[in-house]
Amino acid sequence: MIKIPGEKLIWMYKTMLKIRHFEDKIHRLFLEGNMPGTIHLYQGQEAVAAGVCANLERSDVITSTHRPHGHALAKGVAIKSLMAELFARSTGCCGGKGGSMHVGDPDVGMIPAIAIVGGGIPVATGIALAFKFQKSKRVAVSFFGDGACNEGSFHESLNMGAIWNLPVIYVCENNLYGASTSIRVAVKIRDLAERASSYGIPGVVVDGNEAISVYQATSKAVERARGGQGPTLIECKTYRRGGHSRSDACNYRDKEEEKMWLTRDPVVILRERLTKDGILTPEDSKQMEKEIEEELTQAIHFAENSPWPKPEEALEQVWA
């Protein structure tokens, strides 16, 4: 067990809080019709993004999925530019070209999210290959869902990451469903982390609602990666608090299961832990929430007052 510095713990907590408030706000704005397109929200999985990214430097690089807001916030994409992207404005982190499913910012180490399930896994592996070539200590992290573990890209990538000992960490957020499909009908095994053995790399299962567990596992994986010992597959068992996208009522989920998981709120779990350990007071938390709300208000203001992209901008930035 690594001892986690206090400021890291606070950072994780604040990041999770930020994600939670951000997503709750987005959900409301979306339902009110302020945002075009579709969204996939991250509430319930905050401990994964925060616990993983707390181990990363700005120069480390992540790939993400159709459910990327949490990863973006945890990796340091500016909240204003994230918000503006969801509002489809030219000040968005992708200039309005990407939208919710493609947010990212290479300047802080996040490739625009790849919304093809499994599509980011080879890309992260290639990023890690570049790092190895460049003899740098940077690592790549690929976030993906349980559903992605059944894509060919998962298989091919983990194998190559393994044989070349690449500095890449494969983070599977097993929220038990791929859209409406339970992982129990999609695979016949208990833990997706078991699949690591097919590639000869370590596979670990952690409680994805416990930021500290996620942190610990990632810390070890990052150390391995930076040390040239190759990839790790980390399976974080977690749960979406809401629907798969937009207004999904999750009627395909077992109500008992839902109840059980919803009581295990990762934000609350970390708050209680930090409070118990005397690292955080209820006042600190309140203060944080206040700051976050203010930041969000500003970000929304920024986004709403940002210009729309000009139609013809559609033709730009195809070619380098």
Binding site: I116, C250, P311
Partner: protein, 336 residues
């Protein structure tokens, strides 16, 4: 007569064919889960109640594998209807379609056949670059696939039923903005009359959506509606537009097109798939070969631009070919 949305019409077609022939089954992601969505666009909603989960078969997220499984099942006499959720995912499945589905019959010296259907939602609908592409043209080029593009509920039902009974692999493209009731976009009420009696629509028979004498517009899917809007506007400028919806791109009804050109002498092709190498190029090339004498003007194409699909509405609107670009293009044909 009763009106159905395209989603409803497709659902009815599937149900009828499944009742008629127990070899027909559906396979895809999230198509039959209890409490789920009935596929990304509700087409299979409720079907597992009648047909059970074996025949409305939910899969893991494994497009290459499921496509190959559909091929294999078809080889053994089953008639799979595979649901691809979004056309953008076709690039994961192409090996099985192009290297196996189109070739196994040929390689077997004609002994095998691959009677499978793939349903492929296409079209930009504010979902960004990877859930928006129109991918028909790739499959038009892949020799050995039939390619179907219904623009109305009536056509959707009749063509899908024909597809299920065809002994070849058939790709059915469905436009996301046309599935539902009207109102998603101006002028686009894809809800339409569908007789309760059974009917089939043969492949390779185009529909003259609107008769006119000055210019022929060929369009499919959502673009049919944009063409209609454009035609209305052009009428006010005294230009009479004939609109042809080929309904199937493979096989293509050249006769109806050439007959139209005999009247109009002018051709504009409209598709949402991007310009370069799109199926419109094939239409233009055939006309420039076999019917060039009928032309009084250059052949024009109004297509999306050769870029990824942008997310933000002003850009997406600009990117998708629409009434204005069609009107402008047609007018140019008459001003020179």
């Amino acid at each position: 007569m009763r009106k159905l949305t395209i989603a409803e019409a497709l659902r009815e077609a599937i149900a009828e064919e499944m009742r008629r022939d127990e070899k027909v089954f559906c396979i895809g992601e999230d198509i039959g889960i209890e409490g789920g969505f009935g596929g990304a666009f509700t087409v299979t909603l409720g079907l597992s109640d009648e047909f059970g989960h074996e025949r409305i078969l939910d899969t893991p997220i494994s497009e290459l594998g499921t496509t190959g499984i559909a091929v294999g099942a078809a080889l053994m006499g089953m008639r799979p209807i595979a649901d691809l959720q979004y056309g953008d995912f076709i690039f994961l499945a192409m090996d099985q379609l192009i290297n196996n589905a189109t070739k196994l019959r040929y390689m077997s010296g004609g002994k095998l056949k691959v009677p499978m259907v793939m349903r492929i939602p296409v079209g930009a609908s504010l979902r960004g670059a990877q859930h928006a592409q129109s991918v028909e043209s790739y499959l038009v080029h892949a020799a050995g696939l039939k390619v179907v593009c219904p623009s109305t509920a009536y056509d959707a039902k009749g063509l899908l039923k024909t597809a299920v009974r065809d002994d070849n692999p058939v790709m059915v493209f469905e436009h996301k903005l046309l599935y539902g009731a009207k109102g998603r976009k101006e002028g686009m009420d894809a809800r339409g009359e569908v007789p309760p009696e059974e009917y089939l629509i043969p492949f390779g028979v185009a529909k003259v959506v609107r008769e006119g004498g000055d210019v022929t517009i060929v369009a499919t899917l959502r673009m049919v509606y944009e063409a209609i809007l454009a035609a209305e506007e052009l009428k006010r400028a005294s230009i009479s537009v004939e609109i042809i919806d080929p309904r199937t791109l493979v096989p293509f009804d050249w006769e109806t097109l050439f007959n139209s050109l005999k009247k109009t002498g002018r051709l504009v092709i409209v598709h949402e798939d991007n310009l370069t190498g799109g199926w419109g190029a094939e239409v233009a090339a055939r006309v420039a070969d076999e019917a060039i004498d009928l032309l009084d003007a250059p052949i024009k194409r109004v297509c999306s631009y050769d870029t990824p699909v942008p997310f933000s509405p002003p850009m997406e609107n600009f990117w998708v070919p629409g009434r204005e670009r069609i009107v402008k293009t047609v007018k140019e044909l008459f001003s020179s």
